[in-house]
């Protein structure tokens, strides 16, 4: 039999150790990330891209804050509320943060029950998550209204650097939009879970692909990401 193959005759040998092994794993056959579905891989990569968007927003805000020659308004004072005669700094933001972090907890539980194929609990927990998310957006709307009535505008505010209002509305607005989209998708997926779409692998309306409970986890990835971004906004915008 004629030997016709000189280059690349073989399958890769047993995995090497160390860096070499990592490279072999990554470049291995068919899939780079074993046991990661397409949808999950796509969400992770999308979140990486979205991270760059939020990073650019936050870095731009920090640049503005550091380079401004006018004093920056004190967030502790601006975001203080007087409740029952007590003047509490950042109280609304603290509650909002608490609500959003809690929603991450309910989301994680929903993912767990989703993989157990417990339709009712999954759907209920997703709806609770959506409700917490909607509460967050509602409180943000309250906060916006309060600041606007106090005279804060994207182009000016009564206390100092105009970039305070610009950055505030832009960053919280962009994050709030993310939360709102999350709430909409949570409700849509909760409805599918409730109806049992994933048990019968009903095809999606737009994509005509079969549905799986994994979509709950992918939704969860997005939701946790939005929470994580909030932690950074909280740290860099409110606490700084």
């Amino acid at each position: 039999m004629a030997e016709t193959v000189l280059t690349n005759p073989g399958e890769s040998p047993a995995r090497a150790a160390g860096l070499r092994g990592i490279a072999d794993d990554w470049s291995s056959d068919q899939r780079t990330f074993k046991n990661v579905s397409w949808g999950k891989a796509m969400m992770w990569i999308f979140l990486l891209s979205d991270t760059f968007i939020f990073s650019c927003f936050l870095l731009s805000y920090m640049t503005a804050r550091m380079s401004t020659t006018v004093p920056w308004p004190n967030p502790s004072e601006v975001f203080a509320l007087t409740i029952g005669g007590h003047h509490i700094p950042l109280i609304l933001i603290a509650i909002m943060t608490f609500v959003l972090i809690s929603s991450s907890g309910t989301m994680a539980m929903a993912v767990n029950f989703g993989y157990r194929r417990d339709r009712v609990k999954t759907a209920v927990l997703m709806l609770v998550t959506a409700a917490l998310g909607a509460t967050f957006v509602g409180m943000q709307a309250f906060e916006w209204t309060k600041l606007i009535t106090e005279g804060v505008r994207p182009w000016e505010n009564p206390w100092g650097a105009a970039q305070f209002g610009s950055s505030f509305f832009m960053i919280t607005g962009f994050h709030g939009t993310h939360v709102t989209f999350g709430v909409i998708f949570l409700i849509a997926i909760a409805r599918k879970v409730w109806r049992g779409d994933f048990d019968v692998e009903r095809r999606g309306f737009f994509t005509s692909r079969k549905g799986h409970y994994e979509i709950v986890e992918i939704m969860g990835l997005y939701w946790h990401f939005v929470d994580l971004v909030w932690v950074f906004i909280f740290a860099f915008f409110y606490l700084w």
Binding site: M1, A2, E3, T4, V5, L6, T7, N8, P9, G10, E11, S12, P13, W26, S27, S28, D29, Q30, R31, T32, F33, K34, V36, W38, A41, M42, I45, F46, L48, S49, D50, F52, I53, S55, C56, F57, S60, T63, A64, S67, T68, T69, V70, P154, W155, A161, A162, Q163, G165, S166, M170, F174, F206, T207, S208, R209, K210
Partner: protein
Amino acid sequence: MVDVPYDARADAPPAEVPEVELYHPRSWWTQYVFSQDAKVIAIQYSLTASAIGLVALVLSWLMRLQLGFPGTFSFIDASQYLQFITMHGMIMVIYLLTALFLGGFGNYLIPLMVGARDMVFPYVNMLSYWIYLLAVLVLASTFFVPGGPTGAGWTLYPPQAVLSGTPGQDWGIVLMLVSLILFIIGFTMGGLNYVVTVLQARTRGMTLMRMPLTVWGIFTATVMALLAFPALFVASVMMLFDRLLGTSFFMPALVEMGQQMKYGGGSPILFQHLFWFFGHPEVYIVALPAFGIVSDLISTHARKNIFGYRMMVWAIVGIGALSFVVWAHHMYVSGMHPKFGFFFATTTLIIAIPTAIKVYNWVLTLWRGDIHLTVPMLFALGFIITFVNGGLTGLFLGNVVVDVPLSDTMFVVAHFHMVMGVAPIMVVLGAIYHWYPKVTGRMLDDWMGKFHFWVTFLGAYLIFFPMHYIGLLGVPRRYHDIGEAAFIPSSTHTLNAFITVMALIVGFAQMVFLFNLVWSLFRGRPSGGNPWRATTLEWQTPETPPGHGNWGKELPVVYRWAYDYSVPGAAQDFIPQNQPRTTPAVQGAAP
């Protein structure tokens, strides 16, 4: 020894990726218009990009007419000249090259080359195209709005981009920013598809290190785009707010027409950082697919395996990574700490190393190859020469002290047109000649192709070589009329007229190409499935052009890398990637 027939297929790794459920079109609309098939989407992307690219070509003629014969064409005034350069640059870089390489070639070639039936999310892929089309329409609409398109230059630097002295201040700049935001949203949808398809949906046997370099180039460029476009997205949003809401992200305190404006405290330099954090990777988003494609063209048409495949892959990835830390070399004259200038000059020059590796490897692939001077090969050779040329002037501009006097002269224009204008376009053209038979089943006409190549290649040199010299004289870019200045000899005007004539000739050669595309569609010689006798999977499809689902009943299995050309002892001078081995695998051999 008993000669037992060896069944390589049984020895191939088992399938890990489940068969996808493809969307089957039920009507003419879902088959050809709202199609979810990556091949149709690729053609839609390519046609849209080419259409808007033609607009940019006409704009370049108008600019050259003004520069070559100032004062002769009364319908081109200074404002329009600025609008032309802005739209020409923006269209060429983003709406033509990025869309064509990633949306066009990416969509067509990735699934075929990695042996997938389609992109992993066909519906999202379809949305990607329609949002791209919307972005193009919004961009094109700026020609018809009051005030016309923005004339801020393709870099859109604030504060001038939002000030009333710049043409297109009413509508042009707003629609330009909206169009960019739409483009980025649309691109992200497509880009996620390309990346996940390459990472997770390859066929049996297709390890990453067996992928053709075309896929490597497009894949790396897409990853870079997903990380670089966010900066442009953020910059666009912020500038839109500056323009519409009156925020001052990028706007310092200004006096305009004797009036103190309400802006204050913003940083124009911040925009430049954001823009170039996108803008420099963008150069390589355009260049890396070209690098990949040209490697495959050279290997196929020189009937020789690519020299240093592994090194080529690492060079692509290395260039991609490095391109994120060089952006401030576009800002040497904006003012920066000398140590930053030193840092960015160093990183910029380091990129020359992987790039030089690639050039050497292309040349070494050609060395003693069986070179067929087909039209794709001519364009590939033209690319190497043009790219080396443009790269060498990059060394001038990458050094701070040399860049400062050259900055904002025609030298810069000549440099980036050579390196990221002409060079990638050469690859685009070569790639169209190469893959047209697969897309249509017919060959492009050879004589017209050679005419097209020689006029384009020689013409491009005749346009841009004198432009270097004009730049060294100190002639600034973006000037509507350079007029009479002591430092500009009168011969410059003659050269400018010469460049203009050449630009018109090269432009008309593209019309021959367009005619060829249409003519060959009906009259071209039938090509058969594999006219270039190439190894990669897209040439091994059961049908040409490939049908819905690409592969018929069974997916191909890959047994070898993409470059088995002229293997000694083999029956033909190429062995397709899906041809089984005749002997069992040797443990420990290269993958």
